[in-house]
Symmetry: D2
Subunit: 431 residues, 4 copies
């Protein structure tokens, strides 16, 4: 019996995931997929769950789809639990972006002020899930896509009793694809070594046919971007000196001023990205309700999370089949990156086995990346500590040390408004 | 024979130094003070040098003052060499501040874009001095006050053959004074432990009468400032969570947005701080020319460098007398701070002996400071590497990783204008 | 064209290697095998080389075997170079064991006094080979079986310009086999994690069907041994507290006194192990001369090096095919083991790719192993430094810090006699 | 009120301590000295206590001496507590040496098998004392001379709630004296830097008149010894390569074989050192009973612990007076030695302040010392864990990893006999 549980099953991404399981049925013979959501997500769960059922039906495979609001029933004896919930729904994300931007500060739903509050809302929920897993399916792997994936994984590792947790992001997958395109070769021919933190990891080495071709890829890297991040190109001399490939998210640090200018301009003209995503989601759900639809609609790919399905299904299949292939995941460092403490969660190339990911040695990072990486890690940990303790001062510290904020005055203003806006979801802070 | 050589002897600070030597003559019986300057500084050297002679004359002590443009003659058999020169004079500093600010970016003459170019101008000169010391007075101690003191000391340690170099700054001295004031006790009763980097060091512990009173001092720290840095107060909850005392310069990082707003406002209204300093210096020199003046004028204390004299003379006296007391200096880490590499220059509480400073263990820094400290250290090292190699890309990297810049677009603009403005002093980049 | 060069091709082990290439021809289609030896080994080269030719002939495969004394001709455009030479032949090994034992001290041809002199004889030769490789086949992989494999690999990594060097030993292979036997499962089902130094590595984790079964294997480990090391059983309480599986060679440290007693007794009764090996080799070569023999004779397995062939051919095949499987090799640490410096050679579980081995993180070693591991590593490095510098004092240091010697008085006596006995091969020390 | 409590006050060393306090009364105006002992030590306490009273009386100082068996009464409001007790008296030490030696293994009352059992007997007692201190005099400094001082201090630091503990040994004091003699200068003119573990620390640097004279002292080091350790001289080439000065105790490691031979010969001829010490003590106590004796008798200096008094009184005075001078003590590493963990107790040059010792950076140790240092530290920790847990297997591990034992067979035999011999004092193991 191979049982998958997807928490936040009502997400617009679910059809991707279903498609992924269908495609890989030969190597990953899933028996049951349980889509779980909460009361607020009931309607979406029904819409997307019925599409999932139609997709499976079309495939002719013996996969059973269950829809439920009863998380504990779903978790019983699960093998893999994926989490893709959004506490507070897109309305909360709109506030995460809108409030900071109204003060001229990045919202940024992962490493920014917005991400901090997303973590505040999500971490208590994921720790509850971890407790249920410990009780109901202690051998299951918790595979978390929920952003901020780095902080959420760190929190589970630090504050729960389960150790079988892996954080997953599509950025490494996307960078791998982009590099293969530069080399004009199939992705499977290209090995990448990657390390850092979620939304803050670098490609440190690219191997093609047994040769190190990193310098060549660096020399072509200038114009890589992702479709949810502003597209300013890297000046090649910078990437060359950096010595590793920055991800699209590094623009928030090395190009902070111009990205902020562009973001504020867009915000003034079109509102937040969250609002655009909401419009896109509304469209998707109106497509999903079409009872004739039996496959993932093309439009889904315009969401930032393209490739999530592939990344997630690949990871699950490699664990299930003890493949020993290398994937980039968020897991405990264990010395692989000497820039971080032994017990900290990092995003790193890891060998995926039936016993979980084993980070491989990627060598020392360039000197100039160590400071930024540690600053973000300490922001992640301070955020975790703030939500666990419910201590306002820790939240203030987390925000002030965040290089996307860098202000005492605005940190205080944003905190005040955000705590008010999200108070329904921040019970740890109410004590 | 105890011989002191002061390079940049025409500086407006020199009377402070002379006063310091006069005051300490009992424990530090200086025979000769050689004030050295370059052709451009000849006039100022004469003015300030004559004041120095009048000050010594008034004291009745057998100290001889020499004024010279011949550095090598001065260095012969020196015991201590202090460096306080300003390559390009205040005009260069005005450009260091004005150009970045015109793009909405901090100039900041130490850790900012301005400081980077000040390092570019100064490092080749200090390395020449180091070569002369190696040849002419190999047992001498080089005591550097020239900003950016951290980078300059790092460069001497990394790229010269002399090991007897110490960087000195008045910020630790000033913080010690401020803490003693909070405790309402004489400074000698209060021990502080300090660690970090130049203009980036924190007080980690305060001991009074054998008791750790750090928490008490933290609870009173809110309103400490220095007279050359904007005075926004720290919110106490932040300092409490930080767990160590930030220096006035930390405002550039934890309060970057508001300090930038204020700096730009001042710049628009009154020009740069460098321009104000220039006005102040003009006033000082017009005082110094008064042949009746036989002491340091009160107005000198309005310059940012108050206490430099005390810091410098204390350091020299402790080396000379093998005192073994604790002072905060810029020296090689040697494992005292595990946040930094073994060989990196740090600003740290050190026992001062006849064989030089020995850093003492100050323990682990708070997690949340490690990232910022490393980011600045990598900026310092990238700056050193850029000026040594003369490689534009390394300069671009240094600027883009600097959290006071955080922009590719403006980094390029500022670099272009700065290289043009300072080209006379940047010969390593012309190759 | 896939070309393999085996230096020390006249070794009695060569038939194993040939058998290994024949067995794996489907995945590793070797075109040419060049067996190289020196003038002293000419006769053995002819005997074993002709057996190799008969073995290939019998297989019907298009592999060409070349026998030569011209190393440079052989190396031209090689893909893989294996080294299994014995400088000074078995006669030298007899002295390596006999001289120390005559003073009541372990000879021990790897980590003992004997191994030190074996390293002294071998390292200059391997560095010459490395120079030839750099010139004649710079993309080739040097796969070293020559003992002491740890030191030899360390020396190549430290003092040559080639980076494609891997040290290989059959102990990990043997331990994997023993563990699989304990679990009563095929070896391929059992994953082991191993780390340490050559002849000093521990199994840190055993995974079966995705579960950690290390504690179970530890509870059964008492009676494991290898056929060339004395068989005293481990007391289970010790292995349990150690927390990792010791290798047979660890008896030299944790059971030093009794192993020494047994070794001296055997020495008194039967001479050194080297003398027994010599007798065995004479028998093997008399078998090899039989022109009807077309396969590896069974007797070869009584030599200590059983499984070398499998280990070597597996490694070469994984590199050739970019397999990405995990093997235990001697390679640069790169942070995988925090007990060692970043650049030191360790014996560690590594993912084997076309670009070479990538160590995987095995986590922290038990506290109590760190000291011994570092002591042996420093012995290895001191030995390398001694032979490179030709400095007697460094040789004395290396011997005195070796826990198998632990004596100043006997170190000096042994050094004196060994330098005399081996002087023909120790030209670096004659200067 | 300055109150000193000496636990184990009936020790034959006590007159040294009393003399030390008398000599330093000007700077250390002790009001009360409480000599505490247990029922078994009552008679010795009376004899030595009365001598102490006569010594004070002769001095004419207003110091009060109290003799008591009531430890808790004594501890009330103490400022300094010194511990010099010997659990099981000298009879236990005789067994500590005799049993291992009867199996051809070092007894060695600190780092050997004997020291392990001395730790087993002492640690439970010192932890009880620590609990009393926590309750009765929480600001007091616990200054431990009881051997094995390294392990005892480690245990207090690890398993008690008091942090004001310092371990003290006379070896550093003695080495300082020996170095001053080599330099033919008063001790105060010579600065030494020292680091390692108790009975395992090295002098890393010697400074005279501000110059590094380490190489000169190394070149003269050959014949240094202490009067309780066998006197074989170091070969100078070894010390030169080592690069630091070994202590007399390092003979147990670098000259293990010859020291063992000599020790066994002595044992066969004269019995153990403990038995000689016992004879010496009997003589001392017969002197002490002489009511005319009012000073420390000369014969006391023949005991191994000469200089303990000076070391102890200097330490207490530096804390009391916040001197900030450098002394070598056993205290928490805090990063001063990168060879050890942050929290481990090391023996290191430290600045002595009213807030306790602050280790100074002594730089990296020579590579070749790291292994041995870590092996001993892990032995110390394993010993602590064994006595705390009462787990036989941990005791077996501790003994087998000890380089002075290096045997499974003899470890088991010695353990069996020692547990039987000392069972009265090993209650933690009886559970």
């Amino acid at each position: 019996m191979l049982k998958i549980v997807t928490i936040g099953g009502g997400s617009s991404y679910t059809p991707e995931l279903i498609e992924g399981f269908i495609k890989r049925y030969n190597e990953l013979p899933v028996d049951e997929i349980w889509l779980v959501d909460c009361e607020d997500g009931k309607e979406k769960l029904n819409i997307v769950g019925n599409l999932a059922k139609r997709m499976v039906e079309k495939s002719g495979l013996p996969i059973k789809i269950y829809l439920t609001l009863n998380r504990r029933e779903a978790l019983k004896d699960a093998n893999f639990v994926t989490t893709q919930m959004r506490v507070g729904l897109l309305d909360a994300r709109i506030k995460d972006e809108r409030i900071p931007l109204s003060h001229g500060v990045f919202g940024q739903e992962t490493n920014g002020a917005g991400g901090m509050f997303k973590a505040f809302r999500t971490i208590p929920v994921i720790l509850d899930i971890a407790k249920d897993i410990e009780e109901l399916c202690p051998d299951a792997w918790l595979i978390n896509f929920t952003n901020p994936a780095g902080m959420v994984t760190e929190a589970v590792n630090r504050y729960s009793n389960i150790k079988r947790v892996i954080g997953l992001c599509n950025v490494p997958f996307d960078m791998h694809t982009a590099i293969a395109k530069i080399l004009a070769r199939p992705k499977d021919d290209v090995q990448i070594f990657m390390g850092g933190l979620n939304h803050m990891s670098y490609v440190t080495k690219v191997i093609l046919d047994g040769k190190n071709v990193t310098d060549f890829v660096i020399s072509k890297w200038g114009n890589h971007s992702m479709n949810n991040i502003t597209g300013t190109e890297w000046v090649n001399g910078f990437v060359k000196e950096l010595g590793v490939l920055p991800s699209p998210y590094h623009r928030y640090y090395y190009m902070a001023k111009e990205v902020l200018e562009e973001t504020i301009e867009k915000f003034n003209n079109n509102g937040t990205r969250a609002e655009n995503v909401k419009r896109l989601e509304d469209e998707l759900f109106s497509l999903y309700t079409d009872e004739n639809l039996q496959e993932k609609p093309k439009q889904l790919e315009q969401r930032g999370g393209a490739y999530y399905s592939d990344a997630a299904c690949n990871l699950i299949s490699s664990i299930y089949n003890n493949k020993g292939d290398v994937q980039v995941v968020n897991t405990v460092n264990k010395g692989a990156m000497q820039e971080f403490e032994y017990d900290e969660v990092v995003e790193i190339s890891s060998m995926i086995t039936a016993n979980g990911p084993v980070p491989i040695t990627i060598g020392k990072m360039p000197k100039c990346t160590k400071g930024l990486l540690n600053q973000i890690k300490s922001f992640e940990i301070a955020t975790c500590e703030a939500v666990i303790s419910g201590d306002y001062n820790k939240a203030l510290l987390a925000m002030m040390i965040n290089p996307l904020v860098s202000s005492q005055k605005y940190a205080i203003k944003i905190l005040d408004e955000m705590f008010e806006a999200h108070k329904k979801y921040l019970s740890t802070f109410n004590k």
